[in-house]
Point group: C2
Chain length 421, copies 2
């Protein structure tokens, strides 16, 4: 894509409500545009990143046998009254439609999938099963000042699983946990994301959050020494829980745990039969008896994850997209503006494209070299290739890796091989 | 995918509010499930069809240089007041959020994209440009009894283009028109979809609807003899319009036009500067003067299109998916239930998969042959392959083409080559 034709531009203007690091970076680089606090338009490269994150999530969900569906955002009040959550979830958007009918905008989908599952699940032979969606969700947030991290409207993957026994749920819960680990690794957050014990519900002692460590985080987690896991602040003062979670727990040892700020980028939860009972979802077991399936639910906010990546994998110059979610693999930058020079740049651009490489071509004229390079750092494509008078004279191209800042004059063929790695 | 594991089942139960042909067929085949009138869950194969339709639309939009973005569904009241449409669009969903703030759920997005475009468009050099999204939209329908054809919540592609001159808009409008033609052709509706003259607005005499002919249609169109175009009922009695549209128009000739029922599956509209003026979207022209871009807007409801395909390309046995949007290319059906037979079926299933073929395997046991074949017709996958005692004895497989009903005993290798065609 040529930058002069892109429906997206870098900008120095950021709205006063965009005070979070992720919103500031993504807005300046032109990936998103704020319509109002908590609601963003994804411009072409922003949507590309979001799509790539969601593709990773889909692949990992499909790999554990979950099937993708799509449920409505607009829901009748009645399904929420059945579970009693119409009045208890304070961020539910409620609205009236024609004929004074009451609706809800879905913030989560247990109330939809549980009755729906009755059309699939009749017998123990239909279990276990699991379905997920990646969908736009809504929360009536009073304050929405964290950019993509806390939206009034946001994108989310929500997975629901159904089982005959607690053991089967426990086993699947571990599978999901492993899949989540792979999602964060592929999105470049693996090394700073901790599986974190959080409080459970009536049906299980604990749930888990996935917390990504960053100085910009809103949560505090406590890292269990020598492990890859942490404990959240809900249960750090619960001695019984600590004894349960930590082998050889010694009284007061939690005071020595490293405390870090973090962003929650996912959670997994054992629901037990809470929703199957409320929605009367039943199956017939081997012995002919009627039972409630045991459920689990598992969320990842894909737009929130994009915000977390922007916050955590960036420097004072701008964004640094991990390869698998970068909108383009190569940023080709022309610093020659005469006809002859532009012709050479066009040739490089076409060669990259014909090699199947996703390339953004900064073909803008009338802009200083310094500003082009600054924009390129801000946009954060993994590999930058600069064409200048100097590189043309030497029949080379200047390669800079965004992550390391390492710069080299290389042959064009080497550029291709770097990009095909 | 094995049918016993699919998060989707055929059913004989259809809700009383699902009275439309598309909803009845899609529900019985298990593709969709009604949450309430006008709001459906897409089960795995339903989502697959929807995704394939949207993929076609994306490809055709990208081919005419439009760039994909994603705008919020939740919008502040203020942007709708600017254009005066807060009070004039009667199907707008209005809601209140925290702090008594007024929001709207987007039924269309001129109010969002026009101000947004100011971040992209400053100079005549930035024009023409075009952006689209495929997104979930909302309409506060009093009656929503047409299945996927008229939803309270639905999926839609909306494209917006921006130009410096009327000629440039006219040229792009024709390009979009050609792209739409290709979309309907690829979705199997080309032969029964007519570009139909409809009334325009303040800035152009006519707009166009794309109308698919079906006896189940809610609209009436009048086909201009010897052409591929039609006139809608808004303007069929407008003599001036008829003179303008039809070369050698003869008074009263429209009374002889064939009248047919049809479903609207798209529309294209020249907006002129209505929205750029209302939203103060301006650019600097070559001569330094400030002007308003001339706009066009172009819609295709992708979920509505899926409903139209279900209504129009089906028979009394069920759905008949065109190849490019079918959820699977092959429906492998086992009519042998002993261990030996199932082993052979599994082998065929694995061979099809390893040949890269999308295959649904009816591995259900304890179900009559007749019911399996009935379900297969209902589901409407293009090619059915039956394995029975008889076919195993002859080392063959029974192929039935869903569209023609043609049945043949063939070698397995031939099955592969049919599917790879």
């Amino acid at each position: 894509m040529k930058q002069t034709q892109l429906f997206q531009k870098t900008t120095k203007e950021v709205k006063q409500t965009d005070i979070s690091r992720n919103a500031e970076l993504l807005t300046k680089a032109g990936y998103v545009n704020q319509l109002m606090a908590g609601a963003y338009t994804y411009l072409p490269m922003g949507l590309s990143v979001l799509n790539k994150i969601e593709k990773i999530i889909k692949e990992e969900m499909n790999a554990i046998g979950a099937q993708e569906i799509l449920m409505p955002a607009l829901q009748p009040k009645e399904v929420w009254e059945k579970t009693g959550r119409y009045d208890t979830i304070d961020v539910l958007f409620k609205l009236k439609g024609a004929g004074e009918r009451d609706f809800v905008l879905g913030a989560t989908h247990e109330e939809v999938i549980t009755p729906l599952a009755q059309t699939i699940i009749n017998s123990y032979k239909d279990l276990p099963t699991a379905a997920y969606q990646i969908q736009t969700k809504f929360r009536n947030e009073a304050r929405a000042k964290s950019g993509l991290l806390r939206g009034r409207e946001f994108r989310m993957k929500d997975l629901y699983s159904f089982h005959t026994t607690q053991e089967d749920l426990d086993e699947y819960y571990e599978k999901v946990s492993e899949a989540y680990k792979r999602v964060y690794e592929r999105c470049g957050l693996g090394h700073i994301t901790k599986k974190t014990y959080a409080s459970g519900g009536a049906f299980s002692k604990y749930s888990h959050e996935y917390q990504t460590i960053t100085e910009y985080g809103e949560d505090i987690i406590y890292i269990i020494p020598g492990t890859d896991t942490a404990i959240n602040k809900e249960i750090i003062n619960d001695k019984e829980a600590l004894k349960d979670i930590i082998p050889n727990y010694k009284d007061g040892m939690e005071k020595e745990f490293e405390q870090v700020k973090a962003i929650e980028v996912g959670n997994i939860f054992k629901l037990g039969t809470k929703f199957s009972q409320a929605c009367e979802l039943k199956y017939t077991d081997k012995d002919g008896s009627t039972k409630y399936p045991i459920m689990g639910c598992y969320g990842i906010g894909s737009s929130r994850l994009m915000g977390a990546i922007a916050e955590c994998i960036s420097d004072d110059k701008g964004l640094i997209w991990p390869k698998e979610i970068a909108p383009y693999q190569a940023h080709l930058i022309s610093l020659v503006f005469d006809e002859e020079g532009m012709k050479i740049c066009e040739e490089y651009y076409n060669k990259l494209k014909s090699n199947g490489i996703e390339v953004l071509f900064d073909d803008r004229t009338g802009i200083q070299a310094g500003e082009k390079l600054k924009d390129s750092d801000l946009i954060g494509i993994p590999n930058r290739f600069v064409i200048s008078k100097k590189t043309i004279e030497q029949n080379k191209i200047e390669w800079t890796e965004r992550l390391t800042g390492k710069t080299e004059l290389i042959d064009f063929d080497k550029a291709i091989s770097i990009l095909k790695e």
